[in-house]
């Protein structure tokens, strides 16, 4: 029993960055903008956390810097795809390449190494009465970012499906021209969606850097792409995406648990990607993207 709980705790811990990034993507993609840039947003967030914590000595300053860096990266994606209406997939890939180069460049300039930073502080643990004393799950539920992630998923779900903002954003993702006819600004909502998504992915980066107490080159290791996968498997819904992230986190926890055994780890590594392809192909329910996703909104075309 306690072993199962320990496993759940490990899966929960691993799934935190996936969940934050996938949550953001669920929100912004509902507005009709594809976000392949999660990896880059996360990487920028991780570096910003490290720099913030390094220069101020405060983990929370690092978190603020990470959120800001992520949001700025979202703003760049918005500038290219919303303001200039350029291709969203290409922009996302370009941003990921930019982040890979830029973070190493800054790392070298600040820390004199292109592979890792100096050691920085991590986030403190909170003693939450009731939660922190739970068996096995206590430590993970004492982490402020884990608690924040759970709260954000619930808030994100409410925002997307119960708030006026969410209703408007979703209508823009389905029928931008119709939404514009009602007086909604398509560029404004899409940009806001990307800022939210960037901030959350930045926070995911902060978690990674805080856990590791440093920044290392390419430390996101494809997690942004796994978050996209989770968003698809979760059908562009925060709760669904969070469940998918927990599943992927469990697959990774299993890899760690099985390390050294005869079971080929690589097969478990493939799991998130295979599940996503199956979901896209319609074998696991149907994962249907918002109708207007990927299409730049050009008011002249609808004039």
């Amino acid at each position: 029993m306690s072993e199962a709980l320990l496993f759940l705790a490990a899966a929960l811990r691993i799934s935190v960055p996936y969940t934050l990034a996938a949550l953001g993507a669920s929100i912004n993609e509902r507005g009709g903008v594809i976000n392949i840039a999660l990896e880059g947003m996360m990487l920028h967030g991780a570096l910003a956390y490290t720099l913030g914590a390094f220069w101020t000595g405060s983990a929370w300053a690092g978190v603020a810097a990470a959120v800001l860096a992520g949001a700025l990266t979202g703003a760049l994606h918005a500038l290219v795809t919303v303001r200039f209406r350029a291709d969203q997939i290409t922009s996302g890939l370009g941003i990921n390449l930019l982040a890979a180069g830029l973070t190493k460049f800054v790392l070298k300039a600040v820390f004199g190494s292109s592979s890792n930073s100096s050691r920085v502080v991590g986030l403190p643990e909170w003693h939450v009465p009731g939660l922190s004393d739970l068996p096995a799950l206590g430590p993970v539920l004492s982490s402020p970012l884990v608690l924040l992630t759970i709260a954000l998923v619930l808030a994100g779900h409410w925002l997307l499906f119960r708030s006026v903002f969410g209703l408007r954003l979703r209508s823009i993702g389905e029928r931008p021209a119709a939404a514009a006819t009602l007086g909604l600004s398509v560029p404004l909502y899409r940009t806001l969606g990307l800022l939210i998504s960037g901030a959350l992915a930045g926070l995911a980066g902060a978690w990674l850097a805080s856990e590791q107490h440093s920044f290392t080159d390419g430390m996101t290791g494809g997690r942004g792409y796994i978050a996209i996968a989770a968003m698809i498997v979760g059908k562009w819904s925060p709760l669904g995406a969070a469940a998918a992230c927990l599943l992927f986190g469990a697959a990774e926890a299993l890899q760690i648990a099985l390390q050294g055994s005869a079971f080929p780890n690589e097969l478990l590594q493939m799991l998130p990607y295979l599940v996503t392809m199956l979901a896209l192909a319609g074998f696991i329910g149907r994962a249907v993207a918002p109708a207007a996703i990927g299409v730049p909104y050009d008011p002249e075309e609808h004039a």
């Binding site: 594809i34 392949i36 760049l76 290219v80 200039f84 209406r85 350029a86 291709d87 997939i89 290409t90 922009s91 890939l93 370009g94 941003i95 390449l97 930019l98 890979a100 180069g101 830029l102 190493k104 460049f105 070298k108 300039a109 292109s114 494809g222 792409y225 996209i228 996968a229 698809i232 080929p264 690589e266 097969l267 590594q269 493939m270 990607y273 295979l274 996503t276 392809m277 896209l280 192909a281 319609g282 993207a289």
Partner: protein
């Protein structure tokens, strides 16, 4: 993409086609200069050093050509997909598997004579890449599932697959295969052009140029190529004209994957003579930049691949003064700026009478 440009005369059109990419490169180099300044170096000196060393010496030129070779293949791969209206982000995985297959064949049949072994290696690379491109191709054609996501996922699956298979075929405590037989070697170019002495440029470059010619002939001189482009430009109209959308999409991704897979012979057969994990080093992704800058035309792709090859080697040259990651930043900036510039130009053209 070319429809708005059709209203202007031919010469002006060619200029317009090249104007976007050239302006994008200039703007990217300009933005890159800010990073050089931030480090406290002089942009013109650094760029001068970069281009002099990678173009001005025989060795540097050879290095640039070597770096450009896989980009020709991946650039062609991505552009062929674009022509059919498909975005192949899987070139990195296809390239990896192509190199892996070439090495397995080259090492497994090491004693075979060159006239048999070399073509078999090349074929294996193309088949492995083609197979890996065929999966999203078939899924797109049969189920309509999005090739972008599937090709991204298949990249990671390819990496995991190679690691898994590697337990059996990698040399103890390494991530490389055994050495391929001498019959599988592609000759170094410095055997023909002594000026390139010591550089790893090899006959894979010639193979890349042949591939570019073949892609050009296929796209613009063959019926299949016409059908493929028709599906890319106007799928509905193409289907009404009796062209199968699904079959052409699947074909495009198979060919695209095969082209990317072929790129693997540059490293495996032409340079190291074994497969090593991570050899692709992002060439699959830079292929997207190559296709964009080359405007999906084989001539443009070759030119853009050479440019990125020069940048790739140039980064190593300047590393003592400016972090070589400047080049990665430049590559990314070219991508982001090129898609914006193209939008602006297209919009300007649409406003022309």
């Amino acid at each position: 993409m070319s429809s708005p440009a059709r209203r202007v005369p031919r010469a002006a059109r060619a200029l317009l086609v090249a104007a976007g990419p050239l302006a994008s490169v200039a703007l990217a180099l300009g933005a890159g200069a800010l990073f050089i300044l931030a480090i406290g170096e002089h942009p013109l000196q650094i760029y001068g050093l970069l281009f002099r060393q990678s173009l001005g010496t025989g060795y540097g030129l050879g290095q640039s050509l070597f770096k450009a070779t896989p980009l020709i293949f991946t650039g062609l791969a991505v552009s062929l997909g674009f022509r059919a209206g498909l975005f192949n982000i899987g070139a990195e995985g296809q390239l990896t598997l192509g190199g892996f297959a070439a090495a397995l064949v080259g090492a497994g049949l090491a004693g075979w004579p060159a006239p048999l072994l070399l073509p078999l290696c090349v074929l294996a690379a193309a088949l492995a890449g083609g197979l890996w491109g065929g999966i999203p191709g078939a899924l797109k054609a049969r189920l309509g599932s999005h090739e972008v996501i599937n090709t991204i996922m298949l990249n990671f699956i390819a990496f995991a697959l190679v690691s898994w298979w590697g337990h059996r075929v990698f040399q103890p405590a390494t991530v490389r295969t055994a050495t391929i037989g001498a019959g599988a070697h592609l000759a170094r170019l410095d055997a023909l052009a002594p000026a390139l002495r010591g550089s790893p440029a090899n006959l894979a470059l010639a193979l890349g140029l042949i591939a570019a010619l073949a892609v050009g002939a296929f796209l613009f001189r063959s019926r299949r190529g016409y059908e493929l482009r028709a599906v890319g430009l106007a799928p509905g109209a193409a289907e009404y004209g009796g062209i199968s959308i699904g079959a052409n999409q699947a074909l495009a991704l198979v060919l695209s994957g095969a082209l990317a897979g072929l790129g693997g012979v540059n490293f495996v057969n032409g340079y190291k003579h074994f497969f090593e994990q991570g050899f692709a080093g992002g060439a699959g992704f830079i292929g997207i930049a190559v296709a964009l800058l080359g405007r999906n035309h084989p001539i443009g792709v070759v030119a853009a691949a050479l440019f990125f090859g020069v940048l790739g080697y140039g980064g190593l040259v300047i590393n003592a003064r400016v972090p070589k990651e400047l080049v990665e930043i430049l590559q990314a900036l070219v991508i982001l700026i090129a898609i914006v510039v193209q939008q602006v130009i297209d919009r300007m053209l649409r406003r022309l009478p």
